[in-house]
Symmetry: C2
Subunit: 317 residues, 2 copies
């Protein structure tokens, strides 16, 4: 049997919000991540043929799976709807972990499909397609995971133009300590924990810190970055769902993190660190603090901020 041409892509874990920029900032880790492989099939339509590492919990119906939705969006974008695709997924990211798992699958699927069918879509078009996938589980578009998963680095998105990601400077050596307690929080429920309105004074302080973080990144001003990494909006509403939240933040900062908080809507938490050595120490401190709070089972990741984002890892076309 001759193996059919296939393309496999990897997309990394991402940290949404980056504390101060709810729904606006995101950053990419080097690892872990999801991989998605796509192959041609004779009949039109996109089908999921296998999902590995999800414990059978991710839907395989092609209109409910983020990867197949994103793959199909690429076919529509390049007007090849009559092409048939098989999709196989290797989940490296936990479900509902706050590490951008659905974004990673969407982005990897979009990138692999683009390559397999020779679409040659722009990054903006790919982002648009991946957003269609990501839209599935949350019901609305939140590009602060999809954009960094595709672009790498630290990015921002304007909600008025969600498919235009703006790359921000990444101070050399920046590393992330990320700790994932085994506690599942649904993104949708975490969104519903947020009040629909925010006090103007709090909003003003928050947009000042969004601006200040950007200045800090351009100037590599660690002190300013540290002062800017404050969230008055989402974390106060979400942190009560995470036992030990405040202690984990304190432990991270005491261990040398420039700032610490929820990764996306949690429950994963991360520390923003000046270098990989500090991130190792910070991750250990966060693990211990979660343990003291009664959440024993945690996964621990330490990674540089990934400069490149999603990439093709296998191509037999």
């Amino acid at each position: 049997m001759i193996e059919r041409p296939s393309v496999r892509a990897f997309a990394p874990a991402t940290v949404g919000n980056v504390i101060c920029g709810f729904d606006v900032f995101g950053l990419a880790l080097e690892a872990p991540g999801d991989e998605v492989e796509v192959r041609h099939r004779a009949e039109p339509g996109v089908v999921i043929i296998a999902i590995h590492g999800d414990g059978g919990r991710i839907p395989t119906e092609s209109d409910r799976n983020v990867a197949s939705v994103a793959a199909r969006a690429v076919l529509v974008e390049c007007e090849k709807q009559d092409v048939g695709l098989e999709v196989e997924i290797w989940k490296g990211l936990p479900l509902a972990g706050g590490m951008g798992g659905s974004a990673a699958s969407s982005v990897a699927a979009a990138l692999a499909t683009d390559k397999l069918v020779g679409a040659g879509l722009s990054k903006e078009a790919l982002l648009r397609c991946a957003l269609k996938g990501e839209q599935k589980p949350t019901g609305s578009i939140h590009p602060d995971n999809v954009a960094p998963a595709l672009h790498g680095g630290i990015v921002m998105v304007r909600p008025d133009a969600p498919s235009v990601a703006i790359d921000l400077p990444v101070p050399e050596g920046v590393a992330i300590a990320l700790v994932h307690p085994h506690l599942e929080l649904e993104t949708k429920a975490m969104r519903e924990a947020l009040a629909p309105d925010v006090p103007l004074t709090r909003a003003v302080a928050q947009w000042a810190d969004c601006a200040a973080l950007v200045v800090g990144l351009y100037e590599e001003d660690w002190d300013l970055i540290s002062r800017a990494l404050v969230d008055r909006i989402a974390q106060p509403a979400r942190s009560p769902f995470i036992p030990g939240f405040a202690d984990v933040c304190s432990a991270a900062v005491e261990a040398g993190a420039v700032g610490a908080g929820l990764s996306g809507s949690g429950p994963s938490m991360f520390g923003f660190c000046k270098n990989i050595g500090t991130a190792e120490v910070v991750a250990d401190a966060m693990m211990r603090a979660f343990g003291s709070g009664g959440l024993e089972a945690v996964d621990r990741y330490v990674s540089l901020v990934d400069p490149g984002g999603a990439r093709i890892v296998k191509d037999t076309t």
Copy 2:
């Protein structure tokens, strides 16, 4: 008669908010501005001896005048409360015009006093003193005029640390067209026009644009600057008080402004322009649009963004 040593300082007009960054961003013009002169007097206490150009409308009681309050704050800061001062003010800025008039008087008074008494205060301490003056008319601290009046350029302030101004990059040649209709709006009333809460979705879009403006300034990305110069918060509430607001904005942008909107809480409006030549054309277009809206009497200013901020203009010590 021997003239007593005196110091006179100039502080420029400023544009608060800069459209997208309510209470956070501000920028300084080269001119017009206010001048404040201070001289020693034998008895302790700070007294206003003359105010020129205000039509007799600014309070001369020293605890109600922004300049004397700021001057006294400098004396307190450097522990020279027993020094007596005479203060003379030349108003170059209109009252309640949205051009940072009270901030300019406060900053000029603080700077002149610092020089006269040899206090040698840091910029941060001067800003703190000037804020004490500016606090008088509005009742609360809004450093987005005081900070650019002192620092020059384009600055941001974090409301949590109002006396720490962060200088932002100023793209070369940036010029401001500023038009002041003869319509007085009290800052306090304009604040009361604002709702105490803002919808979260609108706040998110606003902090994205605050971050995007900073990126635009660093990258000299005029297109991004233009897209970021949007206000969903203050202008929608305040613009109904200004006849012709929307037409003046449109006229400015059609004439070449990168963005246009209220200067501070208005009624002055400004256009953010790539160069001084464009600013001249934009100012004319804004004048005509105000005229069509029924506000015939307007003042017109065209200026580069001032790189230096407040300065000593006379020193006979």
